[in-house]
């Protein structure tokens, strides 16, 4: 075996063997690599010298009434790509998913997408109106909403339909934050949407909702009544605290498993009607242009998708030997039932270990613990959901959708890990 061996399996022992052979070590087994760990030439001053933080007092309990991450985590931030949009008020930034673990996205790094900037609304001045085909049009204050019985807490992913939209024509952006970072996953607190709809009383011909935001874009989307009565929520909290302003404070709608654009923030009005409204965001945008010039509309559900977040271009491999490959999987159609990982560009696959809950319409975390011998890898992941849907290759997706769809790109991502550990966004045959 040599450096050109196909790394077809993530089996720990076989990768280990390949690595050892490449290093011309004849002994087999994991112990040999562990023994190869170099002895330090001299004592480590981090250990032998008394550090400032070990001697002097640190800040007291009043230094940070609302805590922030350690200053050493300053690079764990949302980032935008300036040239994508004309200005920052109607724009997008990206969640640093390569820096996160588990399944919950911290509130401060949840990606943002605004159409008229962040509305800053005093909750005492916020109102929710329900009108249209209802028995009694109503107006609620935030206090009213928080007095409803039947409050619920639910974890859901929110993915922008344009997540990966820049990658339809080929590999473009060299970082998982930019190729897959239009997603976040938090616990929402609120009440089922049907609770407030029931309060107004939907007339029998009420088949659609128009949900509207109070921002400078007065964002609107049409939602079919079946979804509204099924699992939609109106939420005022995320991860245990009030919604962040950029996520719709004081109130947003939660539309589980469906494209993020429908999760209208700063929710101020729900109208009941008998037809969809054909708003700008559901006609000129968020419709999927296919190769034949026709376009799918009402493509609400987010198909099953996954991506390896480490290694990835922003998180290259730095060490031979033990490494942790990890990533995220999700589906708008149900729960993630399995995630497969390949290191040979999709020739061979092995099921990853899912850790933590695999809940419906929620991010799911997977791991593959492996030893790396310095061989080039082509890493992919492939999600399967509880409906039996298998995440398609980009090739298979393009065959149906062409290159101009922009939205709903859930094709399998490939990361090329070079011999020096550098990791790159590539497309492969």
């Amino acid at each position: 075996m040599g450096a050109k061996d196909d790394p077809s399996s993530l089996n720990r022992r076989s990768l280990l063997r390949a690595g050892l052979a490449g290093a011309a070590v004849t002994t087999t087994g994991g112990a040999a690599l562990a023994q190869a760990r170099p002895e330090p030439a001299k004592p480590d001053p981090m250990v032998t010298e008394i550090q400032d933080w070990n001697r002097f007092l640190g800040p007291g309990v009043e230094a940070a009434p609302y805590g922030k991450p350690s200053k050493f985590e300053k690079d764990v931030i949302r980032r935008n790509v300036g040239w994508l949009t004309a200005g920052t008020e109607s724009s997008i930034n990206f969640t640093p998913i390569h820096e996160l673990d588990g399944i919950i996205t911290p509130n401060g790094v949840c990606f943002e997408r605004h159409h008229g900037g962040v509305a800053e609304i005093d909750p005492a001045m916020h109102r929710l109106m329900i009108n249209g085909l209802v028995e009694k049009p109503l107006v609620f204050t935030m206090d009213d909403l928080k007095r409803f019985p039947g409050r619920v807490n639910r974890p859901y992913f929110l993915e922008c339909a344009a997540n990966g939209g820049m990658e339809w024509k080929g590999a473009q952006l060299n970082g998982v934050q930019f190729t897959h970072g239009m997603i976040h996953n938090v616990w929402y607190t609120g009440i089922p949407l049907k609770t407030v709809l029931n309060e107004a009383g939907i007339k029998s011909n009420g088949k659609w909702l128009l949900v509207e935001g109070a921002d400078a874009a007065a964002m609107t989307r049409s939602i079919p009544i079946e979804k509204a009565l099924d699992d939609c929520m109106i939420a005022w909290a995320m991860n245990g605290e009030a919604l962040r302003a950029e996520q719709g404070y004081p109130l947003r709608i939660v539309v589980p498993g469906w494209e993020g654009n429908m999760w209208v923030k700063w929710l101020r009005r729900i109208e009941v009607g008998d037809q969809p409204w054909a708003q700008r965001e559901e006609t000129s945008k968020y419709t999927d242009l296919l190769a034949d010039g026709r376009a799918r509309r009402h493509t609400w559900v987010m198909d099953a998708k996954s991506v390896v977040t480490n290694p990835s271009p922003q998180k290259p491999l730095k060490y031979k030997g033990p490494n942790v490959l990890t990533g995220l999987a999700w589906s708008g159609r149900g729960a993630i039932s399995r995630v497969d990982v390949s290191v040979d560009g999709g020739r061979n696959w092995q099921s990853a270990r899912i850790d933590g809950p695999a809940m419906p319409l929620c991010l799911t975390r997977f791991y593959v613990d492996f030893d790396w011998n310095g061989q080039e890898l082509m890493i992919q992941s492939r999600a399967m959901d509880s409906t039996g849907y298998v995440q398609p290759s980009k090739e298979a997706l393009r065959k149906v959708r062409g290159l101009n769809s922009i939205y709903h790109n859930n094709g399998i991502q490939t990361w090329l890990v070079r011999a020096n550990g550098e990791t790159e966004n590539v497309e492969i045959s």
Partner: protein, 224 residues
């Protein structure tokens, strides 16, 4: 199963005997809680500004192409360009007809949008960018008429009104169809191949074009 049925039956019996359901049980229409207050007609009028393709919601009013052109040059051209061709990366509003199958489709009001009502509705609720709700309904009719005219949907002397907005036929209206992924992409519900899924060498066919988005991407990582 049978045990569950028994419990359910017992529960039903309790309801029948007491004549009062326990909270959240056996009631298809839950009782109203009594929160919130009636929305007044003036309040609904203030917020309910949406306009549907069939004209529902269109306020009484009208606007000419000529008036729309004046307004457009004053209020819109700074971002959208004098002819709707766009400045920088702001949205292109005019042209693009016949480009939807091209490598770079130009999705404009004329080439893509299926409904004229959407133009009116969107300008009325969100434009001008940064000064929303500042135009009168007649101004919005005029701007919509101008944009439809620039896109060769209506003639120069057209007057758009609440009476005729639903009759404007958009060139690309017939190109939209409902999400058919569960049938057109049925083959994505399949068994997943695990071994020897590709024949021949797997080659890299494309690299990320934009690499400067990565903060410290210029220096290669060091492998120890």
């Amino acid at each position: 199963m049978s045990r569950f049925r028994n419990i359910a039956r017992a529960f039903g019996l309790v309801v029948a005997l007491t004549g009062q359901a326990l909270p959240q049980a056996a009631q298809p229409q839950p009782a109203k809680v009594g929160l919130g207050r009636a929305a007044l007609p003036e309040e609904i009028k203030a917020w309910d500004i949406d306009v549907r393709p069939d004209g529902l919601g269109a306020p009484v009013g009208k606007g000419t192409v000529k008036k729309g052109e004046e307004l457009f040059l004053a209020q819109c051209a700074a971002c959208h360009g004098e002819f709707g061709e766009a400045v920088g990366r702001w949205p292109v509003l005019v042209g693009g007809r016949g480009s939807l199958k091209a490598d770079s489709p130009e999705k404009t009001i004329g080439s893509y949008w299926p409904d004229a009502s959407t133009v009116f509705d969107y300008i009325r609720r969100a434009m001008p960018f940064g000064n929303a709700r500042s135009l009168s309904d007649d101004d919005v009719y005029a701007l919509t008429a101008f944009l439809l005219n620039m896109n060769e949907v209506v003639k120069d002397d057209f007057v758009l009104t609440n009476e005729n907005i639903a009759t404007v036929k958009m060139p690309n209206a017939s190109a939209f169809y409902e999400d058919d992924r569960t049938t057109a992409e049925k083959h994505f519900w399949a068994e997943a191949c695990m071994k020897n899924c590709k024949t021949g060498e797997v080659r890299v066919t494309g690299h990320a074009r934009v690499i400067d988005v990565t903060p410290d991407g210029k220096s290669g990582p060091r492998v120890e």
